[in-house]
Symmetry: C2
Subunit: 188 residues, 2 copies
């Protein structure tokens, strides 16, 4: 885990082993079973999760019973419900493991402590947040494209790891199309 | 402008007058007329804009001729097409002034220089980017709400400044409803 974190964070700024050790000490390593919840819907998201191994989804069960998936995340991604994590309000979404998933989970308090001790971490998260904003922007542009077939091909092209590991009906939910229609597209 | 920037940035971290002077020197103050473009569709977004006075929208003219508005911004907001600004690709969106608008515009190169000289700026933009991510998340949740009337009331409640300054047909575009339907809601 430490080695993975070292490699990952050094993409954004120069972190040394002392920094990594401090980050590691301020988090807790936890393994979630397949289907287990990292965050339950309507509860406060207490952690920012760095995924060391595995796959999770962020989603909401609507009043109608429909599942609406807003995000997937795999190795070397951070996931949290940011609104809930920052503002300490109940999250409208749940975060659930879709494979056995190992994370380093860090509380808001410890993360604030880390920012004050390791200013480079501000730079890393400034860049990570900007990348997330760009991903959001691209997803919105993808969804504005009314052609579902193009949306699917774009998804497979940009995120090949996901389309192999995530059940098809969840990809359909993420792309806002019916599983039947996705199956038709895949047959072509 | 300097005083405004000082007050604004001190919301996020402790900046002194020397910092503000340096930021100010690395940008250019520019005033755009009502309807003038800060960024044309299909060109590279060369600046991050701090709005000192005025109102702008970010939007896309679709192949069908429809306008699709993705964002508004007023005083004390930053606006850019982040994907285009960071990756130096053509922007799918335009940014246009909806009132006479005065900005401090900063190039990517100068911003990188400022980050290296003033590490606190990393903190400020880390927080600003997180706030934008939360705003995106909330907008998505708002749009998932199929009830257009609720969407409108939520918009007016959360962003009262916009609903008074932005033409109704643009609010309809932003909320993804027809101007006629918005007019009906407002009559109630």
């Amino acid at each position: 885990m430490k080695n993975q974190l070292y490699k990952y964070l050094n993409r954004y700024a120069k972190f040394d082993n002392v920094d990594i050790e401090l980050i590691y000490k301020n988090g807790v390593i936890q393994t979630y079973d397949n289907k287990e919840f990292l965050l339950e819907q309507n509860s406060v998201c207490k952690y920012k999760y760095f995924i060391s191994k595995g796959l999770v989804r962020q989603y909401k069960v609507e009043d109608s019973g429909n599942e609406n998936i807003s995000a997937f995340a795999i190795e070397n991604w951070w996931i949290t419900n940011l609104d809930s994590f920052i503002n300490e309000t109940n999250s409208l979404n749940a975060i659930q493991a879709l494979e056995e998933t190992t994370v380093l989970q860090i509380t808001k308090e410890n993360l604030e402590h880390l920012y004050s001790k390791i200013p480079k971490l501000e730079r890393a998260f400034r860049i990570i947040s900007e990348n997330m904003l760009i991903a959001f922007q691209r997803k919105n542009e993808l969804h504005m494209n009314k052609n579902s077939e193009k949306r699917y091909y774009n998804f497979v092209e940009k995120l090949p790891n996901f389309s192999q590991r995530v059940p098809q009906y969840m990809i359909a939910s993420y792309l806002n199309i019916t599983p039947e229609y996705l199956s038709e597209i895949r047959k072509k």
